[in-house]
Symmetry: C2
Subunit: 451 residues, 2 copies
């Protein structure tokens, strides 16, 4: 007999894990609603014509492809078949693939439903995606993404609101965070003034090491990447950029004074910080020039959220883009969006033990089952308790007390109600606190008031 | 340029549809928690060895199979390839398939995690499943299932609780329902006493037509199915079974007195009805012998829920089974479970217009954007309003009033806040009711109190 297992890189989620994940997603969902975001869902399977070519050559290989049902060999010649070229075969034998991220399906959705959507469209989406990556610690072949985007508006107020949302979500989680910000236009401006547009990633990587290796070594690294001395010279105030966000902005305005693009980026950042100052957010906000995520994609603001009390990569990130839907023939749809890293947030909440009491919606009260007569006595009482909103179970069988108590322990049920002959005669309930062992004789009304 | 589309039989869910679906799933989820059920999730992809052979030959063909990533031709000889036999090819080129239902993955989960689970295990699961069925009206290739099961307990109290859950869920939805009940053992008993075990489906189908075609035609149909006169004679009291549940049970006890199995089924039904009578449920409960769903699978109670005010098939169904996990080498795991038909419940709620006000979590208040100065004035006010839990938007751009109002209309936002120079000077908000057109000048505190 086969011992059942699941495909590598995939996971089952146990009741406890699900309760925690529901807490995470519900919290995010509530904040999204507070800001007028609306949820959509798209199918797990998209046409491969929608997915192919959107994630680079490597991405095409990482798509899970679904064999056509019926005759998958239809339209394939013997010669083609004997080539045994997996990609070319899949191009004919597979019409559909599994969602690889939420961005491309969202772009497809916007184009397909453009006449039903009222722009600016504030949407969020929480769904799994699938990637045929080599599984390793913390990297899965199936994982949830949790994206929010505002499309069809260039206003920087959208950036401001995204920052407020990040702040509110992590405040509700109790996770202290720093929201790091950068702007693609500033990076372009830097490249412009030093005349090395293609070196921008090398530069941000080198600057990022300043604290660890010191200024001399950073400059050495830049030299080794082929930057001329003059460019390195001009970069010095940027590498050593320090102080408050306002001080950094003042420096950047000077350094980038010759770059129109660069100054525009600084002005955008300045505007966002000014507006945010009217919203009393709680997170740290830090201008960080080393932030260079999604550089091929983002055209304006770039965000990243770091947890302050746990060593872990960024737990949220995003930015502004110019052209979401051009690849599907609809030009001019710009937007700004971000993605909560659900798996990492899960890890942070676990490490800091931040799940609030009651957030996991576990059973609050178990009634012990002593047999037929007691069952009949208890059923109306239990209906009353549930009507009061108390999550309640009746152990379904009148087995040994020890087994029933063991069930309460295993499910971490905090209270057990014991109603035997004596309690029935008195119309009382013996309520046992499973943590302290304390037992109290109460009426049904008193019991309900305890919760 | 390609016009993007989605695979046939799949759906996008719009914000409004998602809000309604969330209302449905959250309501079901809450009731499950009230009864101590816990949620699990399993991967979308299962090993094909887990799925194949579990749904019959036809089911095997309806599984979506995922082409192995990397070299899908590995281990396939030229001869095998040139056979061009889709099923045999898939057996080698595909290791994984998409979840076809929630029952088999649940069985696999129970076996795989048996040492972590505390039985009786009350689990629910809300996830999409995929079937390569021919798409047609109301039948999709991707749809959500919403299952609840209690496994590892033979107690009929579990059946009682499932009925209570169905009753509570449909009560919360405001859908008037009839819960129909039958018992597999009663059907077996009937087959036993008339000596025609293999005719039980023909019999239930014929009985089901009594109201439409009358007794004579029912008997004629039974004759045409090959039932001997003597058997038809014995069936008469069963075909004409009428009256209250108690009257039906009394009749069945007499008719089935020679069948031990049949009497056991009647006793089970009797027990469940007796216990339910102590719980004050609101749904109609009806013993219906024509209920024969899942006859190959169910071994005891069978349930089905019908909406009373809408013409539509059953909106929930389930029953008791003996051996969930035997196919994975773990014997003796019996249980009872049921499945809410989410798509049909969605249709019923739409037809009866039963979504409660506020259940869709749409934006409650839109602040009109008049420009820079007003933005700065509004940001702290809006933060206050959101802090009070009011779902609020600031239109991100200071465009024409008409466009902003159009946005509020399209998103069905019931209130719009207008704050121009005059209102700013007075520190007031002009609150417009979008339904009545009425405008009121209020302070921020008064505004918050209105919601």
């Amino acid at each position: 007999m086969q011992k059942p297992s699941i495909p590598k890189g995939t996971r089952d989620f146990s009741p406890e894990e699900m309760a925690k994940r529901n807490y995470i997603f519900n919290t995010i969902r509530e904040v999204f609603h507070l800001y007028g975001f609306q949820q959509i869902e798209t199918p797990a399977m998209e046409n491969l014509s929608t997915l192919m070519g959107k994630y680079g050559e490597e991405g095409d290989k990482l798509l899970f492809k679904i064999l056509n049902s019926g005759d998958c060999f239809a339209g394939i010649s013997d010669e083609e078949l004997m080539e045994k070229n997996p990609l070319r075969f899949a191009a004919k034998a597979c019409e559909k693939g599994l969602r690889y991220d939420l961005t491309v399906p969202f772009a497809r959705y916007v184009v397909q439903h453009r006449n039903e959507i009222s722009f600016p469209f504030k949407r969020y989406q929480i769904q799994p995606v699938w990637r045929a990556d080599r599984p390793q610690k913390g990297r899965y072949r199936e994982f949830y993404q949790c994206d929010g985007d505002v499309v069809g508006s260039d206003s920087l107020i959208n950036e401001v609101e995204l920052i407020q949302i990040m702040d509110e979500v992590f405040h509700r989680f109790g996770i202290r965070v720093c929201i790091k910000m950068n702007n693609r236009k500033i990076l372009s401006g830097i490249a412009e003034i030093i005349g090395e547009a293609d070196k921008i990633v090398d530069i941000t990587v080198a600057i990022d090491k300043l604290d660890k290796i010191g200024l001399d070594n950073v400059n050495e690294e830049l030299r080794s990447k082929g930057l001329p001395e003059e460019a390195i010279e001009r970069l010095q105030p940027i590498i050593m950029l320090q102080g408050s966000n306002q001080e950094k902005i003042a420096t950047l305005k000077k350094v980038l004074s010759a770059s129109e693009t660069g100054l525009k980026g600084v002005a955008e950042l300045d505007f966002i910080l000014e507006r945010i100052s009217h919203t009393s957010i709680r997170a740290e906000l830090e201008l960080d020039l080393t932030l260079a995520r999604g550089l091929n994609y983002y055209t304006g603001a770039i965000f990243e959220v770091k947890a302050l009390d746990v060593q872990i990569g960024s737990i949220t990130g995003g930015g502004r883009y110019d052209n979401l839907t051009g690849v599907f023939g609809m030009e001019g749809v710009s937007g700004v969006g971000f993605s909560f890293g659900a798996d990492r947030i899960f890890d942070v909440l676990n490490q800091l033990d931040l799940y609030p009491e009651g957030s996991l919606k576990t059973t609050q009260l178990l009634f012990v089952n002593f047999g037929q007569k007691e069952e009949i006595h208890l059923l109306p009482l239990i209906a009353k308790v549930r009507k009061a909103g108390i999550r309640t179970e009746l152990y379904p069988e009148s087995t040994k007390m020890k087994k029933q108590m063991g069930y309460a322990d295993a499910k971490k049920i905090p209270f057990v109600a014991i109603v035997g002959e004596n309690e029935m005669a008195e119309n009382k309930i013996n309520l046992k606190n499973m943590l302290t062992g304390e037992q109290t004789l109460v009426t049904i009304e008193e019991l309900i008031e305890r919760f």
